[in-house]
Symmetry: C2
Subunit: 402 residues, 2 copies
């Protein structure tokens, strides 16, 4: 029976998503998303929040506060900025990529005295740059530095950034959108004050919720600041109090997203964080071997780059948009474009969470091997997969049981 | 095989959710939530956004902008406030309930010159109060008035509010969280500038995304204001531009929530908006007949109350928390508590979206009939369902096909 309905059930194309995020979600996570709705003030839902809060603490490696902001990773970003500094405060922002620039834009809108420390995109920032800036700005309230820059494919020494910030009496906030559950992160040991992430990268949940960790120092600051944050929705104290033992009502919680996040975090903990980091490292290593075999250039130096996200320089004459469109149209493979300084010069290949499997490495390499000659870039035939395979031999079998 | 996993798949209790929201979601909507993830910059996803934008336009009854803010209804609230006024601007807020007070709190945080017009909770506000205030404050930039106040169960003459605001040269923004798809709403005909809603009430999608409509006048204002909104995440121009024809990247979109919202809106349009409003009216009428048969008092006058949400005064001696806990523990039925001035004095019964079915009316009435005598409130036995049935006879069968 159609009953004359105008809107038939939604269909979506089958994609291999190897962009900078979202990554694929495990069927078990997707099944959890379809569980019936319960109330956000239901005692059973509070139990779920309590469990998930503890699980997130394990992922962030913190015994302090771990919860989730009801929005994209950028909501986590803005929640940190609006909560941890006040208009007129000096905020130092380490900037080596597009998302650092977003932090600067947000901070300027919030009326902070923004001190941007701009260093080369595609390289790790030298902590001395921060040390010097802190000497020049002893009044600094907050230092912001991204752990894994998603636009530049770089990893940064945030433990050292945090140490320098605290030495100067400032707090330290970081972005772990791409790093959480994909490489080492130690919230407590590194003495971070606030870290925000996304659900849709190495955690492999759908996008739309931002797992965060907050230090007691950071929470005390918010509780005691003379004026509350200009944002009510993104006030970390109000969010922490809803997730805290008293479960004080704030806004309606995104029930299904929390189901999905719980399931994804559970699967990450079942796999084991170290095993998960190793899986990301092993597949990235295979991908890089294959890309090099194709004579493609990886612009980020070896000890400064991410495993979750690989930047590939576009060979001369290869058009960014055409290449990505062809990958999508002919192979249903999504890769990411270059942003900011890298626009038109690189593509970004994400191997995160559920997308981080050998089959996807092979699929992309084979597709590139086929496509690149059509763009005038000659590659030796059949070499990419072989090079990748050589790296994949020692990878432990990932655990994806339901 | 268990493979030694610590985290087994999530389970949630089966509830009859008759609170102020979230309401239940249709299985077809829940199935859509579990579709595989695709990228938020994928052309196929842009097609989905275009389709959904048009569908939301039908629900809001607007040919202007209709899209969704990636957060709870409160995110839609804050997006409107932060986008449509600037620090120091005079903002008149009609206040007759808890969510109006939330608008005041947000506006004070944003540094507006807030003029609260407080009138009696549980009654519709007389537009003369607004007319007088506008005479006193000719500098007013924005007037805010809620259509359906979720804490007070009241409906308000927002078309008249909007007319008065425009006459005085101000914009008008409203909250249709509980009204959208549950009773008449005419965005263009009533000349509204901004309306935000929630996904989790009469639209019957999971909570976590806020459908909104924005006038071209409102969008022009944001494009031309001298300083951008203090919030980047909730800047309605940036969100509108992502949903608009150029699909300019903003933050990562909540892919699964958008799947679910599309499916829920499709089902609402398949049912027909008028039929849906009538269904809400018919079931509410049955519920009220049953509650009256139990000698319970409905504090909101007949022509000022909502069908989506019914306030019930707690009889003398009946404890709010005990009653609600008993309903949840013994019958797995959730109803809402009183907020603000109504705390401890009332319960709120929502019959919205998928929760708005005769079976739920009977379930709640029978449960109350059984429980209330245990709280010392004597009711005639067997009368409630009969009274409700008498009202339900003429209700058309709701269309819930997959």
């Amino acid at each position: 029976m159609n009953n004359g309905q105008r809107y038939e059930p939604l269909t979506v194309p089958r994609r291999v998503i190897l962009g900078p995020g979202p990554s694929s979600a495990n069927p078990r996570v997707l099944r959890a998303m379809s569980l019936p709705i319960i109330g956000y003030l239901d005692p059973a839902f509070f139990e779920l929040l309590d469990e998930l809060s503890g699980m997130l603490g394990e992922v962030f490696k913190t015994n302090q506060r771990a919860f989730a902001v009801a929005g994209a990773g950028s909501a986590g970003m803005e929640a940190g900025l609006v909560s941890l500094a006040q208009p007129g405060d000096t905020v130092i922002i380490c900037s080596y990529g597009y998302f650092c620039e977003r932090q600067i834009i947000m901070s300027e809108r919030l009326g902070f005295n923004v001190v941007p420390l701009r260093t080369e995109w595609g390289r790790s920032m030298d902590p001395h740059v921060l040390a010097d800036a802190l000497k020049e700005h002893p009044e600094t309230q907050l230092v912001v530095g991204i752990h894994a820059e998603t636009s530049a494919g770089t990893l940064h020494p945030i433990a050292e950034f945090a140490r320098l910030a605290h030495e100067a009496g400032a707090m330290f906030m970081t972005d772990v959108v791409t790093s959480l559950a994909g490489c080492e992160l130690e919230f407590d040991e590194w003495d971070l004050d606030f870290a925000y992430s996304g659900s849709q990268k190495c955690l492999a949940a759908p996008p739309g919720i931002s797992p965060v960790a907050l230090s007691e120092r950071g929470l005390d600051y918010i509780r005691n600041r003379p004026k509350p944050p200009t944002s009510w929705y993104l006030d970390l104290q109000l969010i922490a109090d809803y997730w805290g033992p008293d479960h004080i009502a704030h806004h309606t919680a995104p029930v299904s997203m929390i189901y999905g996040l719980r399931e994804a975090v559970g699967m990450a903990l079942n796999e084991g964080l170290s095993a998960r980091w190793e899986r990301h490292a092993a597949n990235a290593s295979a991908l890089r071997a294959g890309l090099r075999a194709l004579n493609l250039e990886l612009p980020v130096p070896e000890d400064e780059r991410l495993d979750q996200l690989t930047l590939v320089r576009l060979p001369k004459g290869v058009d960014d948009v055409k290449l990505r469109n062809q990958l999508l149209d002919e192979y249903s493979i999504e890769v990411g474009r270059g942003l900011g300084e890298f626009a038109g010069k690189i593509i970004r290949v994400g191997l995160m969470g559920e997308s981080c499997v050998p089959a996807n490495v092979f699929a992309l390499l084979n597709a590139l091997e086929k496509i690149l000659p059509e763009h005038g870039f000659e590659v030796a035939n059949g070499v990419a997969a072989a090079a990748a395979s050589a790296q994949l031999v020692k990878q432990p079998s990932p655990l994806f049981t339901g």
